[in-house]
């Protein structure tokens, strides 16, 4: 007998959003995932935030799988996560990693919680009686908690634990625990696991006001808080019920100031890097402060540069300033002074008026950044690697998620404090890299149990079999009288049988149920148990095995009623009647619903295993190769004659030593030689039809003018972009005025000689970050300008080089290049949008006049060359490609993803993905990361595993449909379309999320969410409003 291959197992160390995303992606394709986190709960920083920028709301649940969604929990992710293939181990540290690529032995330490969370029912009596109070770290010390506590207030299931550092072992909790789950002598549990790959997602330590000496100049009162503490203050589940109050006295805070760059951009403290996201989250917090507190709340941000480099960030900044009135002051303040009336004073300098001002505030928020070096060193030691020259984990120069050690990957803020969209896309990319790595190994995927469903007997009289679980393990005494309940239910018409069982969740319990139901004559099954989300899948399989159709099975939460008595002040006995009645009514309503439910079936999608990649730039090629490596057939379509795109044909060197042109050459060879990749040069997309698994795309060959069709299961859009154009600053009227690309090309070919130049001036943000023009930041121009300026410096040590900027966008670890540039004598001069430099031509040479803001003086220069940073424009053909695929393109010409934070590389239409500059301007590394993520999302559907639609999807009753298409327009998922040939509304079963909007929009009730018919809903309402039959029964 052949030896069974080991199941591919991956350790994801760190359960913040990035780690969770990587874990979900890996679990989806069938790997077993071990998800650990050193803290007592999952969710990381995001568990603390109610709202994120630039959308100003949450959306964490969008990380959950959309197709095949029934394998995972379907509730708020800030509360918790459940997935069949993911073993979650909170409060577990990674202690040792030994072994080699693909074969790692990891030693974990599961720290003692002193409470058995499997059996804990979350009653909370222990918390009530605990005598110890200490600062609550979740709320950053703004509130108190007990020694026994819930680490995250809104977690389900409850994840209580005891903090042994503060516990006095008085034993009061032991006395009141109804289920005896407290063990004060519990010990940490060492675990050893064999894994085939590791994803590090442990995030990064944040600068805080406790551990860092230099924070003390600002942290002079409890009303000076860190940004995360402020998030807790404005959170609905936070310190002050959502209103903004000062921690010192609870008074409302009406004047709030933010101080940026706390802990970052500080060479003196050996932290000369930027933390990337603080500018944006400070803007977000300021906007939220006004929204929650009222427009008269004054918000002021003291900053050095406003780094709004991401997609839609600049528009958010405009709204914050123009619409919400957030005040921005470009001045770093030395300290905060505490006045006797508790207000906080800051003295600052206004360069425009050259005057000092002193302002008082109710509250000061310090925008705290990252402190990465310790974290990186620890992990490097753990993995037996050396940190690189920047004191960070050594990663592949092109692949941000790949550690130099094979089989180990990273994602999220471990790469550098990052915003959500990159945390998510890097999580997906890391999963993709793991999948590529494991595809070359002899490991198997978790197999899905295929249980044949019985043929639906719709016309049979509906008869419901009721199974109730006593859940006695979690409670000493039940609040429900099961005998009375069972008797009452038996009397209902459509109830065929009632069985009272216990511990249905256990294997023995399940077997007992199976044996019982094998002889059942019923055709519908209702189980009343606990944690429906956790046991849904396994109980569904049970139902199928017992001969029930999976759609005619329902599980309701009975356990919370069974335990209800312990949460109420009334003694249980007298209330038992009421609780039994409550249970009865809940079950009765569920029976009514189930009675009328039709048998539904899932469909296995027929998946064409080929992928289409549109765009043969580096991102497109990377995606194609990533898929091909895993055995996926790829059609790569490129509209020009050459592969490589913009970077691969125009950029020889980047500032961090990458060589895109050379890389593109290598990739081209690989693409041409790869047996799974078919290249279509000089081709463009004309139109696409179909849905996930079954797309048909019409391609036009530009050279031969002929059309042909490609069938594919999914597609990736990687159409790239190019340098922006301009007509500002006399561009085009002098050969001394160039764009950055022209300068770069000229320096490379030698056509432009700067060795004799005296003065060179560069202007940033040309045509960008302004209402008439590119209303977005192109992210790479500051770094690009610095790269060019350094090249010039190399060739000419004497030239004066000036860079006129609005904000220097050297975010993250790119800050080092800004420092390097200043050290090379390059002078940076800021200008504002309402006072732009002026360029005039004198004898064909540019003369530039601008205001020197520090000295508040007019400056005039006659440079040998004036270089304009014109930003990145989207490909004009994006609109055509968008039309062809039915994909939205925004006003700037870039594709609009499904969700800017949580689904950055996906489109709403399932099966279509985006990567690289087609999404928004980005660096090469970021484009490669997105390409990897898009490739993985594609692979997840094309890998050969069975993809099912859900049971519950929308259905069209053609006979009464008038083809008005309102339902098509209103569908937020783009799951509906009007098929002209068939003259029908078609629903894409894979994309439909059964949200019900179509049902609302349709005037004729032609759109129905299967399993949620009007008849069913009315029956439930009737059941709940009708006279309580139990009232007569009990008497």
């Amino acid at each position: 007998m052949a030896e069974k291959k080991p199941t591919g197992t991956v350790l994801v160390a760190g359960a913040g959003v990035s780690g969770i995303k990587a874990a979900i992606e890996l679990a989806e394709i069938g790997y077993k995932v071990l998800l650990t986190d050193a803290s007592p709960q999952i969710g990381g920083i995001l568990a603390k935030l109610d709202n994120q920028f630039p959308t100003d709301h949450c959306g964490m649940c969008r990380m959950l799988p959309m197709v095949g969604r029934e394998y995972a929990s379907q509730y708020c992710m800030r509360k918790g996560l459940y997935h069949e293939n993911i073993e979650i181990l909170p409060f577990t540290e990674l202690k040792r990693v030994e072994g080699d690529a693909g074969n790692y032995t990891v030693e974990l330490l599961k720290k003692a919680r002193y409470i058995d969370t499997e059996k804990c029912n979350g009653l909370g009596e222990c918390i009530r009686v605990c005598p110890v109070e200490t600062a609550d770290e979740f709320n950053h010390g703004l509130t108190l908690r007990k020694a026994v506590y819930k680490p995250v207030p809104h977690n389900t299931p409850q994840m209580l634990l005891i903090d042994m550092d503060t516990c006095t072992k008085c034993g009061e909790c032991l006395k009141v625990c109804p289920t005896n789950v407290i063990n004060l002598e519990a010990e940490d549990e060492p675990l050893t696991r064999q894994v085939h790959a590791i994803v590090l997602a442990s995030g990064v330590k944040l600068y805080n006001l406790k551990d860092f000496e230099d924070a003390k100049s600002w942290a002079v009162s409890p009303d000076v808080v860190s940004s995360l503490a402020f998030e807790r203050i404005i959170s609905g589940s936070g310190t002050f019920d959502g209103t903004i109050r000062r921690p010192s006295d609870g008074k409302p805070a009406r004047k709030i100031a933010w101080v940026q760059c706390m802990g970052s951009r500080n060479r003196r403290q050996k932290r000369d890097y930027c933390s990337s996201i603080c500018c944006m989250f400070a803007l977000k917090e300021a906007v939220l402060a006004k929204e929650k507190g009222g427009d008269d709340v004054e918000t002021t941000i003291f900053y050095m540069d406003m780094r709004t480099f991401g997609k839609d960030f600049y528009r958010y900044y405009e709204r914050a300033v123009d619409e919400h009135g957030v005040k921005l002051i470009r001045c770093r303040v030395q300290q905060v002074m505490l006045n006797p009336d508790k207000s906080l004073s800051m003295r600052y300098f206004d360069s425009e008026t050259q005057e000092f001002f002193v302002s008082d505030y109710d509250m000061v928020v310090l925008s705290t950044g990252q402190v990465p070096y310790e974290t990186h060193k620890k992990l490097a030691d753990l993995l037996h690697v050396d940190v690189n020259s920047q004191n960070l984990l050594p990663t592949d120069p092109y692949d941000k998620v790949k550690l130099v050690k094979p089989g180990v990957f990273l994602c999220g803020s471990l790469m550098g404090l990052t915003d959500l969209s990159e945390a998510i896309s890097s999580g997906i990319a890391a999963a993709g890299q793991v999948s590529r790595f494991l595809s070359g190994m002899d490991v198997s995927l978790l197999e899905e149990e295929e249980i044949p469903e019985p043929t639906a007997k719709d016309r049979d009289e509906p008869l419901v079999s009721v199974v109730l679980c006593k859940c006695s393990e979690k409670t000493q005494e039940s609040s429900v009288d099961f005998n009375v309940l069972g008797a009452g239910l038996k009397k209902l018409n459509s109830v065929g049988e009632v069985n009272i069982m216990d511990m249905v969740c256990s294997d023995e319990g399940k077997q007992m149920v199976l044996d019982l139901l094998a002889k059942s004559k019923c055709n519908r099954l209702l189980i009343g148990a606990c944690h429906p989300f956790m046991y849904r899948k396994s109980l569904k399989n049970l139902a199928k095995k017992a001969g029930f159709s999976a759609s005619l099975f329902e599980i309701i939460d009975l356990s919370s009623i069974v335990h209800k008595g312990f949460f109420e002040p009334q003694p249980v006995e007298s209330a038992k009647k009421d609780y039994t009645r409550l249970a009865y009514n809940e079950i009765r309503a569920a029976v009514e619903n189930l009675k009328l439910k039709p048998a539904l079936h899932v469909e296995t999608l027929s998946i064409n295993p080929a992928a289409l990649v549109v765009g043969g730039g580096i991102a497109g090629m990377h995606a194609a190769l990533s898929l091909a490596q895993r055995g996926v057939e790829v059609h790569l379509v490129e509209k020009t004659d050459k592969l490589g795109g913009y970077a691969g044909t125009r950029i020889e060197h980047t500032i961090d030593g990458l060589t895109p042109v050379s890389m593109a050459k290598d990739m081209t060879i690989k693409v041409l030689e790869h047996k799974y990749i078919t290249l279509h040069k000089n081709c463009e997309v004309v139109a696409t039809q179909g849905s996930l698994g079954a797309f048909e795309t019409k391609i036009r060959d530009i050279s031969s003018q002929e059309n042909f069709y490609l069938n594919h299961g999914a597609a990736i859009i990687a159409t790239g972009g190019h340098e922006g154009a301009t007509d500002e600053y006399e561009y085009g009227n002098s050969d001394q005025i160039l764009t950055q690309a022209e300068l770069k090309d000229g320096l490379a070919t030698g056509e432009i000689d700067v060795s004799e130049a005296e003065t060179i001036v560069m202007i940033q943000c040309v045509g960008s970050r302004q209402k008439e023009g590119r209303e977005y930041c192109s992210r790479i121009c500051c770094i690009g300008a610095i790269a060019n300026a350094l090249s010039i410096r190399e060739k000419n040590p004497e030239a004066r080089i000036f860079i006129l900027y609005r904000d220097v966008m050297t975010y993250g670890f790119n800050e080092q290049y800004y420092t390097k540039a200043r050290l090379a004598g390059i002078v940076f001069v800021s200008y504002s949008l309402d006072n732009k430099p002026k360029v005039e031509l004198t004898d064909g040479s540019p003369v530039i006049t601008f205001t020197e803001p520090v000295l508040n003086a007019e400056m005039q220069l006659t440079p040998d060359y004036l270089i304009l940073s014109t930003g990145v424009d989207a490909e004009a053909s994006n609109r055509d490609v968008g039309k062809a695929f039915g994909l939205p393109v925004n006003e700037d010409g870039f594709f609009v993803e499904a969700d800017s934070k949580w689904r950055p590389v996906e489109f709403l239409k399932v099966g279509l993905y985006v990567a690289g500059v087609a999404h928004s301007p980005m660096t090469l590394k970021d484009a490669i990361l997105q390409a990897e993520a898009a490739a993985h999302k594609t692979y997840a559907y094309l890998s050969g595993r069975k993809i099912h639609t859900a049971h519950t999807i929308s259905r069209v009753h053609d006979a009464i449909c008038v083809r008005c298409q309102r339902c098509v327009d209103i569908c937020p998922y783009g799951a509906r379309s009007y098929d002209e040939v068939l003259d029908r509304i078609i629903v894409d079963g894979a994309t439909c999320q059964a949200c019900g909007m179509c049902g609302v929009a349709c005037q004729n009730n032609a759109a129905e969410i299967m399993g949620f018919s009007d008849k069913q809903i009315m029956a439930v309402i009737d059941a709940k409003l009708s006279k309580d039959p139990m009232a007569t029964t009990a008497e």
């Binding site: 001045c331 300290q335 600052y348 300098f349 200043r822």
Partner: protein
């Protein structure tokens, strides 16, 4: 400010360190500076910028570096470790080198008697307070001569020796 006269290499004469070039005009040095309350205010950030630009005339004519109280808050708080207090002293030195009217009279006093003022000569007061005689260098003429000899070997004293000759 006449930028056409700016000398891009001037900073090497004034404050020849990489520290200076790190400055990114964050303005931290300004807000806590006591002398920034003056009239005209001492604006350390502006001085740094003028040095980087090499605005020779403006720097020579700027009196504000002499208002500095040497509290070194700017130095403590500067995120780029520009060491602005060192820069203030450097500017003063450059000014003194190029403009003898800037030579502080204090050094003449120190040359003459070893101290900025008369030290240890208040013998009666000292005695009434119960203090012993102080062995100041003023009372040790041989030593003082050595000190003066030493100072004469240093640039500013030697180049302005007319200020230090005995009257």
């Amino acid at each position: 400010m006449d930028f056409s006269q700016s000398d891009k290499d001037l900073w090497k004469q004034i404050y020849n360190t990489k520290d200076l070039l790190h400055c990114f005009n964050c303005s931290t040095c300004l807000s806590g500076c006591p002398a920034s309350h003056g009239d005209p205010p001492l604006l350390v950030r502006n001085l740094a910028r003028m040095v980087v630009y090499g605005l020779e005339e403006d720097l020579l004519n700027d009196d504000t570096p002499w208002a500095c109280v040497s509290c070194s808050r700017c130095e403590e708080m500067c995120p780029m470790d520009v060491k602005p207090f060192e820069m203030i002293l450097a500017i003063r030195r450059w000014q003194t080198l190029n403009d003898e009217t800037r030579v502080p009279t204090a050094i003449v006093e120190i040359y003459k008697r070893g101290y900025t003022q008369s030290v240890g000569t208040n013998t009666e007061l000292r005695a009434s307070l119960g203090l012993p005689e102080l062995q100041t260098i003023t009372k040790m003429p041989e030593m003082l001569k050595l000190y003066q000899e030493m100072l004469m070997k240093t640039p500013v004293v030697s180049e302005n020796d007319y200020m230090f000759n005995e009257e």
